[in-house]
Amino acid sequence: MPNEYIKDFPILQKPMNGKSLVYLDNGATTQKPLAVIQAVDDYYTTFNANPHRGAYDLSVKATEIYEGARETVQKFIGAANSYEVIFTKNATESLNLLAYSYGMNFIEAGDEIVISIAEHHSNLVPWQQVAKAKGATLKYIYLDSVGRITQQEIAAKITDKTKIVAVTQVSNVLGIINPIADIVKKAHSVGAIVIVDGAQSVPHFKVDVQALDIDFLVFSGHKMLSPMGIGVLYGKEALLDKMPPFLCGGDMIDYVWEQETAFAPLPAKFEAGTQNVGGAAGLAAAIEYIGKIGFDKIEAIEADLIQYAIPKLKALPYITLYGSDDLSVKTGVIAFNVADIHPHDVSTILDADGVAIRAGHHCAHPLMQYLGVNATCRASLYFYNTREDIDKLIDSLSRVRGVLGYGS
């Protein structure tokens, strides 16, 4: 069945190495639809001025676009208030904001910070640094043999000493959906806050911060059709209120004296300096575009592709797949290796066929160590992918070993 969305993505019309592009690196970043590109273009060609500053019409318009984007994000993630949505550069900056503003101020010696072994370095290294600086303990929730977080691990690792639980909703390597509701329940029962890394979940299914009762959610715009350089930190008002600013400067103050500063209320307190208004306009357009398709449709397309791809990959005897393929916990991220061939060589050989996949450690060294591998290949899907893309992936994979002189 032809995919009705491909036509919206200019880059998917362009050939790659003389072949039509099969883009299977959506976990790294997604392509951008014309609606998003045009929204950014419109902003800079028609409305560009510094928001919150000028008393002239253009600045007012820029402010409306920026604050309008905040309200679009608020509705998208089900936040109670738009000022609980802080714009950042990306999920990484959001997590660093939390580590430095919350972690460094509210974590004390002897406290425990709990993360999972499947975290991206962005939700691992900041907490490791907080734990080192404050004399706290960084504890890991480990995975079962197919990559899932079990109830036993949640019960064992989250204790009365736990102050922060920071966990990804979907692993960027294994594509497995973690049991956030169970983690939240246990964490809140011991008085810990829960930070959810939504970089790999928010683009693919509905995430409602109030329904999940999570304390913080972070995600990147560029992994969900938006420009690079715009991201989100959602936080509950009471928590954001008690946190000190992360970056200081213009627009985050109420008044400055020679020796003192009164900080602005939310969300400005956390948005020092001129922000990425064009990026916010692009993010709002991306959310509107996703809304028109609907998450039901997006999930159905991705589930169909996964169901189509997994048996075909399993049929190749030299392919090793990592993690569960149970569709109830699996998103469109497939980690695998080709026997005897390093993932970088696989990626180069697939590239010659126009097939773009990721190869390497996926910014998850501890997970690679836990899986006992040095690196993996990763194909990650989005709604503009097709069964034909999967066919091309399989076809190209079947040539890989031959190129390096191995029999099939």
Binding site: H342, P343, D345, T348, A352, A359, H361, N374, L404
Partner: protein, 143 residues
């Protein structure tokens, strides 16, 4: 992209054979080289005596290009003095940076000329040069 110009028979053979991939009995220098961005990691072992690299070998994990490049480098430097090894390093890095393009000037690299096409693949240059940079660090105090 022509894959046969990248994964030449020579590269495939060096990658598969692993004949230089082993530990030396009594190495005088062992140095690790890492590509943090891709996770490639080699450990270069040299037995240097009076400025002569009597033997060399490596262990570690990496793609075909880094493994083959390391193996070819070892074939070249075995039995050579460190000054000659430095000449190989300069020539090889010059080839990859496209600063040395004349085949006559590259002739001393022997089989390692097979990696010339990597200079057209920015994403893979790091794989090809890992072991050569490691060697350069390893012998800098021997000269």
């Amino acid at each position: 992209m022509d894959l046969s110009g990248v994964y030449t028979e020579m590269i495939a053979e060096h990658n598969k054979s692993g004949r230089n991939k082993k530990h030396l009995v009594e190495p005088t220098i062992v140095l690790k080289g890492r590509n943090p961005s891709c996770g490639d990691e080699i450990s270069l072992e040299l037995k240097v005596n009076n400025g002569v690299i009597e033997d060399a070998a490596f262990t570690g994990i990496g793609c075909a290009i880094s493994q083959a490049s390391t193996s070819m480098m070892i074939d070249l430097i075995r039995g050579q003095n460190v000054e000659k090894a430095q000449e190989f390093i300069d020539t090889f890095l010059g080839m990859i940076k496209r600063e040395i393009t004349d085949d006559d000037d590259l002739e001393i690299l022997d089989e390692a000329i097979a990696l010339k096409n990597i200079s057209n693949m920015p994403a893979r240059v790091k794989c090809a040069v890992l072991s050569w940079h490691t060697l350069e660090s390893a012998i800098k105090d021997e000269k």
